[in-house]
């Protein structure tokens, strides 16, 4: 018998601090696997953000810069321009990317920086105790929307992938999920494709991953995983929105 599933080389063999059933762990492994597949470990500089994924540098066996809240795409821009032969990706939550970092992501995308962005949308601020994010669904109760998000008060949840798709500078944009067999296979494929864009110097690539935060959703891991396939996928449609080079 041969081992057919192993921990990726780019992922350190350590315990994570993530809550049980948190999809950050699944996405971390998938990103590390994609780095391995293109043999990028040695020339990768990851740019971590603020949120539950803040410990990227403890979990990935690559070089990592920790950026201020929301600023990862700006930091990644500097890194990539200074070291064009490095492989540069950001890993950001929805509070980080779609709230405090709205300006940075839009302009980095619009400039068509040759970087890749992994955007983990769990519809809440996980790390700080489940506050409402721009991506929180209508009616969703959070610690700062105890009666549920309302259209009148807070507006509709932002569909970031669709928003960025409209920018000329964006070469690749997709939304995926990791909640079931089919979605896991597709997520793997799209993350790899996003990385290929950068490897082949074909411009800005973006992958949004719908993710579960069982703790702040007040759900069991299994229920939270289910919610990704129902409520989240109903509003945030999965698919490839842009693929200019047809990779």
């Amino acid at each position: 018998m041969q081992q057919v599933f192993k921990r990726p080389l780019s992922l350190k063999d350590v315990q994570t601090h993530f809550c049980p059933g948190c999809h950050h762990g699944t996405v971390h492994r998938m990103v590390a696997k994609a780095l391995d597949e293109y043999d990028l470990q040695k020339r990768t500089i990851g740019v971590a953000s603020i949120g539950c994924s803040v410990f990227l540098y403890s979990y990935f066996d690559i070089d990592v810069i920790e950026s201020p809240h929301g600023r990862a795409p700006a930091v990644a821009t500097g890194v990539k321009r200074a070291k064009p032969d490095s492989f540069v990706f950001t890993y950001q939550g929805d509070g980080d990317l779609a709230a405090i970092g709205t300006g940075e992501i839009i302009h980095a995308a619009n400039r068509g920086e040759n970087i890749s962005v992994i955007f983990v949308n769990n519809t809440t601020y996980g790390m700080t105790g489940g506050q409402m994010a721009p991506t929180t669904l209508l009616g969703q109760r959070t610690s700062t929307s105890p009666y549920g998000r309302s259209l009148e008060n807070e507006g509709a949840p932002i569909r970031v992938t669709e928003l960025l798709t409209n920018l000329e500078g964006v070469s690749f944009a997709a939304r995926v999920a990791v909640n079931n067999a089919k979605n896991l296979m597709d997520a793997k494929k799209q993350i790899k494709k996003a990385f290929r864009y950068q490897v082949e110097k074909k411009g800005f690539s973006f992958v949004e991953v719908l993710a579960a935060c069982p703790t702040n959703w007040g759900m069991t891991p299994i229920k939270a995983n289910e919610r990704v396939g129902t409520e989240l996928s109903d509003y945030f449609k999965l698919g490839v929105f842009k693929n200019v080079a047809n990779l």
């Binding site: 018998m1 041969q2 081992q3 057919v4 599933f5 192993k6 921990r7 992922l11 315990q15 994570t16 993530f18 809550c19 049980p20 059933g21 948190c22 999809h23 950050h24 762990g25 699944t26 492994r29 990791v178 079931n180 067999a181 896991l184 793997k188 069982p214 069991t220 891991p221 299994i222 995983n225």
Partner: protein, 68 residues
């Protein structure tokens, strides 16, 4: 024939592997690990594991190894 190994000390008992296995070969047991989580176990007598790796793909804690 295939089989999996679950690292009991890494498992956080989320149960995601139990729902994704098409053959239902994994269950949460009453055993508690050093972190205080009840862990997942693979049915040691299972002969129908296909080595599809789905359990390992979804495991947020990379606690599963698959052999084929």
């Amino acid at each position: 024939m295939a089989r999996i190994e679950i690292d009991e000390q890494r498992c956080k008992g989320c149960g995601l592997c139990t729902i994704i296995c098409p053959k239902q070969l994994i269950i949460l047991c009453s055993k508690v690990n050093n972190l205080g989580y009840t862990v997942a176990v693979f049915d040691p007598s299972a002969i129908n594991c296909t080595g599809c790796t789905l359990c390992a793909e979804i495991c947020p804690d990379v606690a599963i190894k698959v052999f084929k």
